[in-house]
Amino acid sequence: MFHQLGGLGDGAGQEELLAMLLRAHPETTYDYLEFRLIVAAAACRMAAERATEDDRGKLTRAYEAVVAALGRNDPRQAAEADVHFHLACYEASHNAVMLHIMRTFFLMLCHDVFYDLRQFYEREGVRQLLLRQHKAILDAILASDPQAAARAAERHIVYTREAVQESRLAGQRLAVAMRRVGRDTLAQVTDRTG
């Protein structure tokens, strides 16, 4: 029905309304990650079945770019390279419709709609885990093992979901801690109750 309304309200280069809505409703992040889990597993399975020599080279270089960025201790570049790695997986799936749809959402993600990937790459422990998960996806695709590729992709998203949850809880805990530290602005604090 809406096609009759014509191309209103979305000039070139403008962010999709959906992105704005999702940002305003953080609980939708988990729906996004559930959707990602479903599609990424399928895409990596297809990539393991269909990747050409060209795709394999591209995937390997994309992975190496993440490693190199981390070697330079550049979380920003690492986050960007991470997105390229995932897009390379979708490219290797040889499904152009799926690639277009997922690219749209990865571009949204670059605008920090759901979470900030750079923050993940700033933390040493998280960084190593992400790297290992990417390596598992890469190895499975290069080994042409569809089942392993799907499983590796699923594990990566399940982990991302946990990391998002943890970082949100950490943010809330920090806010509580700061309010407690600044509580003398709320009550007449005495040493005894300190």
């Binding site: 029905m1 809406f2 096609h3 309304l5 191309g7 209103l8 309200g9 979305d10 070139a12 280069g13 403008q14 999709e16 309304l17 959906l18 704005m20 809505l21 999702l22 305003a24 409703h25 939708t28 729906d31 996004y32 559930e34 959707f35 479903i38 599609v39 399928a42 297809m46 499904n95 152009a96 419709v97 799926m98 277009h100 749809i101 749209t104 309010r179 600044g182 602005t185 709320l186």
Partner: protein, 254 residues
């Protein structure tokens, strides 16, 4: 502690926020026309001036559009998403890419619907299925194609994942415009129509009985069948073209 300053919520903002949530959860859908201001104000139990102010806020955000004397919910995925997809689908192989993607998401959506559907969702799915049956009994291919799309939308609602709902909703709109394939081709074939009906019945039953694995299998089988049917129809069309060309050659030879 200026950050914690409490700001009294303005009624108009609260109303706008409420309507926004209705759009996010899919209670209000892209392309739908809102009730007239007076009726909507009554429905939400707010004053007309407050509602008008709220609609002004939503319009500024681009979430609603004033068009031809009505107020419509804007498409959440606009031209930036659909135009390249439409261009992509001019290649005939995109039909199969679409169906492959659809099979993945449809399978998962139906799986989650079987797990998560509330009794309201289940009723809605059954109702939509009856609409397909009725259209089928009347042999009305246009109506049946519409009922088909509505049935699938009710499954996306029942899966309770708003990402799936919005993406598949946007794709369903393109499907209605025959971007991916000509739906009429499917529905004008008696045998195909009967099979599709039985597949929708299987999806409905698996969701109703709360069996996620059966639901996924039924949804995937449905998309796989659609793919095979379209392939067959394409081939039949090509055979027909070839026959016509042969006849033309024979005609010229005379």
């Amino acid at each position: 502690m200026t950050k914690d300053r409490i700001r009294p919520a303005r009624l108009a903002e609260a109303i706008a926020g409420h309507i926004e949530s209705l759009i996010v959860e899919g209670s209000l859908r892209p392309g739908e026309r809102l009730l007239a201001e007076r009726d909507l104000a009554q429905k939400l139990a707010v004053s007309r001036p407050s509602l008008r102010e709220a609609l002004g806020l939503l319009e500024k955000q681009g979430l609603i559009l004033s068009q031809r004397g009505g107020t419509y919910v804007a498409p959440l995925l606009g031209d930036g998403f659909t135009a390249p997809l439409i261009a992509l689908c001019e290649r005939p192989e995109s039909t199969y890419d679409y169906l492959e993607f659809r099979s993945v998401v449809e399978g998962a959506a139906t799986y989650f619907a079987a797990l998560r559907a509330s009794h309201v969702d289940r009723e809605s799915i059954s109702e939509r299925f009856r609409a397909i049956e009725e259209a089928d009994a009347r042999s009305d291919p246009d109506e049946e194609a519409e009922a088909d799309a509505a049935f699938h939308l009710s499954v996306y609602m029942a899966c309770h994942n708003v990402m799936i709902l919005h993406i598949m909703g946007a794709l369903a709109n393109l499907l209605r415009q025959d971007v991916f394939f000509h739906r009429k081709k499917l529905y004008t074939r008696q045998g195909v129509r009967r099979m599709l009906l039985e597949q929708h019945r299987a999806v409905r039953e698996a969701v109703q009985s709360g069996n996620p694995e059966a639901a996924r299998a039924a949804a995937e089988a449905h998309v796989t069948f659609t793919r095979a049917a379209l392939q067959e129809i394409d081939r039949a069309d090509k055979d027909l073209e070839m026959s016509l060309r042969r006849f033309a050659v024979i005609d010229e030879g005379r």
